[in-house]
């Protein structure tokens, strides 16, 4: 293609970013063609941005996409000629994949290069050499078992990814199957995209499957995918997740939707230490130590059973110590579940090396279009600061300014009006400051859930909320992660940290599960006008717009 083709949707830029015009008639097919090798960075209304990196190209190669197909897809859908530097970079990255393989020989695992020159090159890379064993041939090196993961990490960092075909240990056999009817009596089955994701991960049990990451938006049912993968692997499983509540959610789902019994599923957290054929643990307990110089004693959990599968829930939040242990677990199947491969700390390549390449990725717009997740409308309401607070705000130091703005008492009236707009719809009122959220809960006459709420009370509140007996629940920051509230249709955030993109995505994900009727979810943020809170809210606005959510800014009188 040499001329400008306006009907094509893509603009490929020299920095390897790809802009995709949503309004183009060929957008959908172009998106499907580039998704295997380009990471979606953001998806605001009219133009989505993707980025092609060596990692994304390797992910594509791992899935069987050759470089010619990658370049061909770009050329076919680009408005302008694809920059030569981009094509060269793609081919360069693609040609590096598959040239190094970890395979199992009778003597053990070896790293095999496709030619002696490459073997020599790799052997001389400073970060790689310490993890290699003795040379076994002109093109192969022995790989100590304990170095399998670290070697892969080092090779990725050196720009020479290794395809791990050395296979896995079988683990303790454990028959698991998904139920057709849940214990609660509801019909249950996999959605097509969930089945596809599990198939892509398992790969029929071959050595080409068994390690990788499934990327699905919040509310799309990653837990179900995890359970299906467990069923296909059919062995003991260690599930790692982000909080005790999430642990219990997993346990609840496993017991509700699979053939597992209570004595087969255990919780390993700050409150319980049950190691069973399926054990669900928190990252926090694994990385807990009594002193800064002490060891992470709970990491022994990884060796306490012959795990056949390790599931890393919210793998984008994997803490560094767990990465290190995972480096030594390469003989076990590993599944990462996440809504985004983008990490704040930039350790995407460690996820690739130690957990595995991306196996499945379904855009949320597609799921929203199919009705699997709710449509979300985001509204930012700017509440004026009352007169009596303006001077204290003006003279306060920065941190206090934020608190004054966040705890603006005028917000309460607005919360009432918002809740009145959505009568009968299950709603969450979320806040960062415990005093504020407790006060609002009292004024609204609703229960409140904070970090100090006992687990039993917490579970009861969640149950009542889920079952519709509790229409409104006030929650503090604890509700950010892994709270399974499938029927929350409205979230009203009265204060927040606006710190990380994952937090924003998680918070929104709490209300994105499909709803009856219009399948519409509402997310309100209340900020005090002309304050630092409004400035911080801009970050949220940008993030949500980048993700493609409809974002509206309103005055109180419009509510």
């Amino acid at each position: 293609m040499t001329a400008y083709c306006p009907e094509n949707p893509l603009i490929v830029q020299g920095d390897q970013s790809v802009l995709a015009e949503v309004g183009s008639p060929r957008f959908a097919e172009a998106r499907d063609r580039i998704a295997p090798f380009a990471e979606l960075v953001k998806s605001p209304e009219h133009v989505h941005t993707y980025r092609i990196t060596p990692l994304s190209v390797w992910n594509a190669c791992a899935a069987g996409t050759p470089p010619d197909e990658i370049v061909g897809a770009l050329r076919e859908y680009a408005k302008y000629p694809v920059p030569a530097v981009v094509e060269a970079s793609i081919r360069d990255a693609a040609t590096r994949y598959g040239r190094l393989r970890m395979v199992r020989w009778p003597e053990g695992i070896v790293l095999q290069a496709d030619e002696p020159e490459l073997a020599e090159l790799v052997w001389r890379v400073r970060g790689v050499t310490p993890h290699l064993g003795p040379r076994v041939s002109a093109t192969a090196f022995a790989v100590p078992t304990a170095e399998r993961g670290r070697l892969k990490q080092a090779l990725v960092k050196a720009g020479w990814p290794a395809e791990d075909l050395a296979g896995y240990t079988a683990g303790e056999p454990l028959p698991i199957a998904l139920r057709g009817t849940t214990r609660a009596g509801e019909r249950f089955g996999l959605r097509d995209y969930q089945a596809d994701a599990a198939s892509a991960f398992h790969a029929g049990g071959s050595e080409r499957g068994g390690s990788g990451v499934v990327v699905l938006p919040c509310g799309a049912g990653k837990t179900v995918v995890g359970m299906e993968c467990m069923a296909r692997v059919g062995s003991s499983t260690l599930v790692l997740t982000t909080s005790v509540t999430a642990v219990r959610q997993w346990i609840g789902e496993l017991l509700d939707k699979t053939t597992l019994h209570e004595d087969q599923v255990g919780e390993y957290s700050g409150q319980a230490k049950d190691v069973r054929p399926v054990t669900v643990a928190t990252y926090q307990v694994l990385t807990h130590r009594d002193r800064a110089d002490a060891s992470f004693r709970h990491l022994e959990l990884f060796d306490s059973r012959d795990w056949g599968l390790i599931v890393y829930d919210e793998v984008h939040l994997l803490p560094a110590p767990v990465f290190q242990v995972t480096a030594g677990l390469q003989a076990r199947r590993r599944l990462g579940l996440t809504a985004t491969l983008v990490r704040e700390d930039g350790h995407e390549d460690d996820v690739f090396a130690l957990i595995g390449p991306k196996k499945a990725d379904v855009p949320w717009k597609e799921l929203e279009g199919q009705g699997w997740i709710a449509k979300a409308e985001c509204t930012e309401v700017r509440v004026p600061l009352p007169k009596e607070l303006r001077m204290p705000y003006a003279v306060a130091e920065a941190r206090q300014k934020f608190r004054i703005a966040s705890e603006n008492p005028e917000k309460l009236a607005l919360v009432r009006r918002i809740l009145a707009r959505h009568p009968g719809e299950p709603a969450l009122v979320i806040g960062m400051y415990v005093e504020q959220i407790e006060w609002m809960a009292r004024e609204l006459g609703v229960p409140v859930l904070t970090g100090t709420t006992g687990q039993r009370r917490r579970d009861a509140l969640y149950r009542d909320f889920r079952e519709g007996r509790l229409p409104v629940l006030a929650v503090s920051k604890v509700a950010n992660f892994a709270v399974d509230l499938p029927d929350a249709a409205v979230a009203v955030q009265v204060s927040g940290t606006f710190g990380s993109r994952q937090e924003e995505a998680q918070r929104l994900g709490r209300i994105l599960r499909p709803k009856p009727g219009a399948n519409q979810a509402h997310f309100y943020t209340l900020v005090s006008r002309d304050t630092t809170e409004q400035e911080f809210a801009l970050k949220r606005q940008l993030f949500l717009c980048e993700q493609g959510y409809a974002y509206r800014i309103a005055d109180p009188r419009e509510i």
Partner: protein, 690 residues
């Protein structure tokens, strides 16, 4: 070897033998030096032919060299001289200066041109210009053989030098020869001389030819690979004596460029200067390289062929080389960077001239920063900014180049090497008439337009306006011939198109079969006074989209839109793609320039293919709405110990005193009135404490 002093009888006598040779043999024979035997390798495969034709003889039994036939020496000398200088192949058909250097001594050149100048230097450029003019031949032809021609000759040779044209038998053939040759643009074979002058004897024919060569009326040359000997008058003269050029006819061309890029360039530079002063080098007031590169990256992109067009130095068939502000060639920035450097320089100069920006020295650093007028200018729409440039130009009383008033650009965009009397000359009128004569629709070729008006409506040569008077500074660059004046007027017309009309949106440019074509726009007619008002077309919608995340994406290139958006958005890329992002900082900068939310949103709405997202519109209004303007000025304060004293001071000061707080008062007025109040206070027992 001076061609005029050769034995042309011998040359012409042996010429038929030369014409019978093959081209290869001719080329080989030219390798032979007169009086020197040639080695066989110099003659190559043609040696046998040359031997057979008697041009060279074979070497003796012990030799290897081939001497030429002695009788052919004059021919050989002439042919080598004709091949060396090739006077009929000069640029545009004019005479090369090297020919004058070869054929005329310094003294001869002085007397030929009538310039008595220096005895150590001859103005060969003036000589070539003179003899390349049609008037040179016309003047000769106007002098009939006889006394007029003798006088013509006497005026052009040193006294005492033998006169060649004193003999009618020489003068008449030369006269006929020159007249005959003016009808042949490409010259005639030298061997046809006898046919052209059948009544002249060979000796007279040869003498006439020699005289013609001596007085640079006729020229002999070798042409092409075949080394054909030709005789002719300079091609430029033959052309000039032909029919006049026709008026420029419409050509089939589509407008490809119609954008006031000078406005965009000035906007780009001023946006930078308004944000933070652009640092300049102290020695030459030029931009530092990094600033230059940053600005160059943000300039509106022009097609390469357009840049070549506006950068050319106006070289034309007359060989003149004088361009406008963009003219030049590769400079420090190399071939590709020259035009962007020139555009930046023009923009900077225009901004300074119009006082939209100024050089300021702060803390020993020289900077180029926007003035308040410049900031106000940035707040206008593109059409209004353009009008602010056009109106002073249009209204200026300037009639001739170099007479621009203060705070306004020069109307012509070019300077002349001599002064022109403003009272008696009106080149502007002639220029405007020429451009306003263009048809209302369609395009004309630039070359055809310039050629026609340079010759047919030239105020310098008496067409339509009085001859300008040279006043001062006249010298080397002043034309001396009619063609020179035509070339100058052509330069002025072309420079006005390149440096004023086109950059200010007064002309649209396109490509036709014969070259670049142009048409006048309403803005151009307005500038030239042809119309009193014009509507400026807003930059049309391109493939631009404003995204909810405040990014502005260009799906296709839209350079004018880029220039508009740069006033209130931060640039993040160039070409196509995500080129801008609206941020709080960019909005604050725009607000400081005087832009308002409504205007910014209107611009976004006009350029974006999709509606401006509601959150973007709302956020923009909030950011703009949060800005305020304050004034800082020195004040005199009176700090009173209590309210009673403050009341007493207020009573004594009257309107001069304003209460800031209950005990602090502000004194207005000049130093004298303050001193008067202090004196009054003292009389009332209120003393000022130092």
């Amino acid at each position: 070897m001076k061609l005029a002093e050769l034995d042309w009888m011998e040359v012409l006598h042996h010429l038929p033998r030369w014409e019978a040779l093959s081209p290869a043999a001719r080329r080989a024979f030219l390798e032979v030096k007169p009086g020197v035997a040639a080695p066989p390798e110099a003659l190559g495969a043609a040696v046998d032919e040359l031997v057979a034709a008697g041009f060279v003889t074979r070497p003796g039994p012990k030799g290897r060299m081939y001497p030429h036939a002695p009788a052919l020496r004059p021919l050989l000398v002439a042919l080598r001289a004709m091949g060396r200088s090739r006077p009929l192949d000069g640029p545009g058909g004019t005479l090369p200066e090297a020919y004058v250097q070869d054929q005329l001594g310094m003294d001869e050149a002085h007397w030929l041109t009538g310039e008595r100048g220096y005895n150590y230097w001859a103005d060969r450029h003036a000589t070539t210009a003179l003899v390349s003019s049609a008037d040179w031949v016309k003047g000769f032809l106007a002098a009939a053989p006889g006394t007029p021609m003798v006088k013509w000759e006497q005026a052009r040779i040193r006294p005492g030098e033998p006169q060649r044209l004193a003999l009618p038998q020489v003068a008449e053939p030369l006269h006929r020869l020159v007249r005959a040759l003016t009808a042949h643009a490409g010259g005639v074979p030298l061997g046809s001389l006898p046919a052209l002058l059948p009544d002249a004897s060979p000796a007279h024919r040869a003498a006439a030819l020699a005289a013609g060569l001596r007085y640079l009326l006729v020229f002999v040359s070798l042409r092409g690979d075949g080394c054909e000997a030709v005789l002719g008058v300079l091609p430029c003269i033959v052309r000039r004596l032909g029919p006049p050029p026709p008026p420029p006819a419409p050509v089939a061309a589509a407008a490809e460029l119609e954008t006031p890029f000078m406005v965009a360039d000035m906007t780009t530079v001023l946006v930078e200067a308004a944000g933070e002063p652009i640092r300049l080098r102290g020695n030459d007031f030029a931009l530092f390289a990094r600033a230059q590169q940053a600005l160059a990256a943000r300039l509106l992109r022009l097609p390469a062929w357009t840049e070549r067009f506006i950068a050319v130095q106006g070289e034309d068939e007359y060989g003149g080389k004088r361009g406008g502000e963009y003219a030049g060639g590769p400079g420090d920035q190399g071939q590709d960077g020259w035009i962007t450097a020139a555009r930046i320089a023009v923009a900077v100069d225009a901004l300074r001239t119009m006082r939209l920006a100024a050089l300021k020295s702060r803390e020993d650093r020289l900077g180029f920063e926007a003035t308040s007028a410049g900031r106000a200018w940035l707040g206008l729409s593109e059409g209004e900014r353009l009008k602010r440039l056009l109106d002073p130009l249009r209204a200026s009383p300037q009639r001739n180049p170099g007479h621009a008033g203060p705070s306004t650009l020069d109307f012509f965009g070019i300077r002349l090497p001599f002064g022109v009397d403003e009272k008696t000359s009106d080149l502007r009128g002639a220029l405007s008439t020429a451009f306003l004569s263009l048809p209302a629709e369609g395009m004309v070729a630039v070359d055809a337009f310039v050629r026609y008006h340079a010759q047919e409506t030239n105020p310098f040569t008496g067409h339509g306006a009085a001859q300008p008077q040279r006043q001062w500074g006249a010298g080397y660059g002043t034309p001396r011939t009619r063609e020179g004046w035509e070339s100058l007027w052509a330069q002025i017309l072309a420079a006005f198109l390149r440096t004023r009309l086109l950059p200010l949106g007064g002309a649209s440019l396109g490509r036709a079969d014969g070259g670049v074509a142009f048409a006048l726009t309403d803005a151009g007619r307005y500038l030239l006074g042809g119309i009193d008002a014009f509507e400026y077309a807003v930059a049309g919608e391109g493939e631009v989209m404003v995204q909810p995340d405040f990014e502005i994406v260009f799906l296709s290139a839209a350079p004018r839109v880029e220039a508009e958006l740069a006033r209130f958005a931060e640039r993040t890329g160039t070409g196509v793609g995500a080129l801008f992002r609206i941020t709080r900082a960019s909005v604050l900068r725009a607000a400081e320039l005087g832009l308002a939310a409504d205007r910014v949103l209107k611009t976004l709405g006009q350029v974006s293919r999709t509606p401006v997202p509601a959150n973007v519109a709302r956020q923009l209004r909030d950011w703009f709405g949060a800005t305020r303007r304050v004034r800082i000025r020195p004040a005199v304060l009176v700090e009173c110990p209590d309210t009673e004293t403050a009341a007493r001071v207020t009573g004594l000061g009257g309107a001069q005193v304003t209460a800031v707080t209950r005990t602090v008062l502000r004194l207005d007025g000049d130093a004298r009135s303050v001193a008067a109040l202090v004196k009054k206070l003292r009389t009332k027992g209120i003393f000022v404490q130092e």
